[in-house]
């Protein structure tokens, strides 16, 4: 180090940086490439070692077998129903709440406490909540229901929604709302006609991240569903623990589970990043 001038160190670091990013990209991509390629192989080809790096023939047997012969399509529907219920309920409850917490004074620092209350839901481990949920659901007869699962998920989207939209609401100058109110707009009109359109990117980001985390959730679905409402992440277990794991079918199952969110990321990356970072960098 002492023999090289700062300029050389900089150039060296520059090259190391490029190499590092390239390597990281490869590491991030490889497992996904692997699963994707295994999913379009025959069962025999999928577990061959030395591996087939680039498949020469493509077959959709695995997808056909799990979607058409298996019940995988039902699991897709179950996941979708629970997730959509969660996102819609979460947004309908969470956005108005975040709006007044940011813009209104509740006295006694109550707005601050309310915000913290919603954010602190994030700290609750799912396993801790499943014990009372399971017992309460069993008593109510609401186990194995996509609707009830979605309603559970909704409450866990609240911290994300507060986290993701708070910065967006805060960014809008207060004078805008005040001007509307001076002009005779009611509080509700100001919220609905002035603020809501302006924080659309924040709402989008909150909706996307809520969708992703709910779609991927495992523990609640494992404990609170059986067969009727079983979701995709739980269903992928079906390929494991048997004597013969059909790797191509497991891969296809994983692809179906991760495909929607991967597409989501591609389309909405900008919103996810801005929502995520507004919450963290601001605080």
């Amino acid at each position: 180090m002492s023999t090289t001038s700062p300029l050389d160190t900089d150039a060296l670091l520059d090259r190391t940086g490029t190499l590092f990013v390239a390597l990281a990209t490869l590491v991030a991509l490889f497992p996904i490439y692997w699963i994707l390629t295994r999913s379009v192989m025959t069962t025999r080809a999928s577990f061959r070692l030395p591996p087939i790096w680039i498949p020469e023939t493509v077959t959709l047997d695995a997808y056909e077998s799990i979607l058409i012969q298996g019940a995988y399509f039902d699991y897709v529907v179950n996941s979708l129903v629970a997730t959509l219920i969660a996102v819609v309920v979460g947004l309908v409850l969470g956005i108005p709440a975040t709006y007044v917490i940011v813009r209104y004074d509740f006295g006694l620092n109550l707005d601050h406490h309310l915000g913290f209350f919603f954010l602190s839901i994030f700290m609750l481990p799912p396993i801790v909540a499943t014990i009372p949920y399971f017992n309460i659901f069993r008593a109510l007869g609401s186990l194995d229901s996509s609707l009830w699962l979605g309603l559970v998920y909704a409450v866990f989207t609240l911290p994300l929604i507060v986290w993701f939209t708070r910065g967006f609401i805060d960014d809008i100058p207060d004078s805008l709302g005040e001007a509307a109110e001076v002009d005779g707009a009611t509080h509700l009109q100001t919220f609905y006609h002035i603020y809501l359109p302006l924080i659309k990117p924040g709402i989008g980001a909150a909706a996307i991240i809520s969708f992703i985390l709910t779609w991927n959730e495992y523990f609640f679905a494992l404990v609170l569903t059986r067969t009727e409402a079983k979701t995709l992440p739980v269903a992928t277990t079906e390929f494991v623990g048997q004597y013969n794991i059909a790797w191509n079918e497991l891969s296809a199952g994983i692809v179906i589970t991760i495909a929607p969110v991967a597409v989501f990321l591609l389309v909405t990356q900008r919103y996810i990043i801005s929502g995520l970072t507004k919450g963290a960098v601001k605080e």
Partner: protein, 301 residues
């Protein structure tokens, strides 16, 4: 404060103050009550359960807590939780920050590179667990195949008590390094260019600039990121569930796994409830340490 939107105090009538109050509570109460119904009520249920023999059973005071605190399996689970969370989050912070620095300084990458770098963190943690379980399978996995090709030993990753945890940590680091990357990268964009330019003019090398200019500026972001990731690592269990199921020999049996086992396999619900509360207290304590550190850093500037 209640009058800030009105031109003068003359405009304030009881009615307008009322409307404001009705509006703000009307907006926040549905979400608040929903959260109370789904969080506070179940926690009361859980607390009562932890103080009784079982669901609907007799009150036994702190007996369950004493039993749990004295049981070796609980201690082992606490250790396993820390052995999973601390190295995972530590490595993620290290790699994520390095990646953000590299990505930020070398402005020659396509946007698609960023998308690829972010991909792991939006995938189902359980599916990622299954993927890595396959990769690290001793005779069918790609990792051992590659190790064999270059002449390295081929360990039984997931059946070895020490290596099983290494494997789970590897999967976690793969998935969550992108999360640190995004937040730190955003943090880097908020550092004033002039600060770095000034250091350059003063002759600071890149490493010096990182150590004395950039790193202190990143402190708050790093603290927030570390806190979020630690909470996620503590409370999550999907990946361990998918990869080892808590084995071999309980070496990856974190608190989540232990509570699950007690509540739903052994039907030892009251103990599981007591463990849950201790777990919750632990998470709250750790969070408070970080929040205190964060407010100290913020005050210092």
């Amino acid at each position: 404060m209640a009058t800030r939107t009105l031109p003068s105090l003359d405009g304030v009538t009881w009615q307008s103050v009322d409307r404001r109050t009705v509006f703000k509570y009307g907006m926040v109460l549905p979400a608040f009550l929903y959260a109370v119904a789904w969080i506070v009520y179940p926690m009361v249920f859980l607390l009562r359960l932890s103080l009784s023999e079982g669901v609907g059973g007799a009150f036994v005071g702190l007996e369950n807590y004493v039993d749990v605190i004295l049981s070796p399996s609980f201690h082992e689970a606490v250790v396993a939780t820390l052995l999973f969370a601390v190295p995972s989050v530590g490595l993620e912070l290290l790699f994520g920050t390095a990646l953000a620095m590299a990505y930020n300084s070398v402005n020659r990458f396509e946007r698609s590179v960023q998308t690829i770098l972010l991909l792991p963190m939006v995938l189902s943690t359980f599916a990622v667990g299954l993927m890595f379980r396959w990769f690290f399978s001793s005779n069918l996995g790609i990792v051992n195949y590659l190790f064999g090709t270059i002449g390295l030993p081929e360990p039984v990753w997931l059946s070895d008590p020490q290596l099983a945890m290494v494997t789970v940590v590897a999967a976690d680091v793969w998935q969550w390094t992108p999360f640190v990357f995004v937040l730190v990268y955003a943090g880097l964009q908020t550092i004033p260019e002039s600060l770095i330019e000034a250091a350059k003019i003063d002759g600071a090398t890149r490493l010096q600039r990182f150590r004395y200019i950039i790193l202190p500026q990143l402190y708050p972001v790093l603290l927030v990121t570390a806190l979020i990731r630690l909470i996620m690592a503590f409370k999550g269990g999907d990946k361990i569930f998918a990869m080892t199921g808590g084995g071999p020999g309980g070496s990856t049996k974190t608190l989540t796994m232990l509570i699950y086992e007690n509540a739903f396999s052994f039907l030892n619900t009251a103990s599981a409830a007591a463990m849950s509360f201790l777990f919750l207290v632990f998470i709250i304590l750790v969070s408070n340490v970080f929040i205190a550190a964060l407010s100290r850093v913020n005050e210092a500037r």
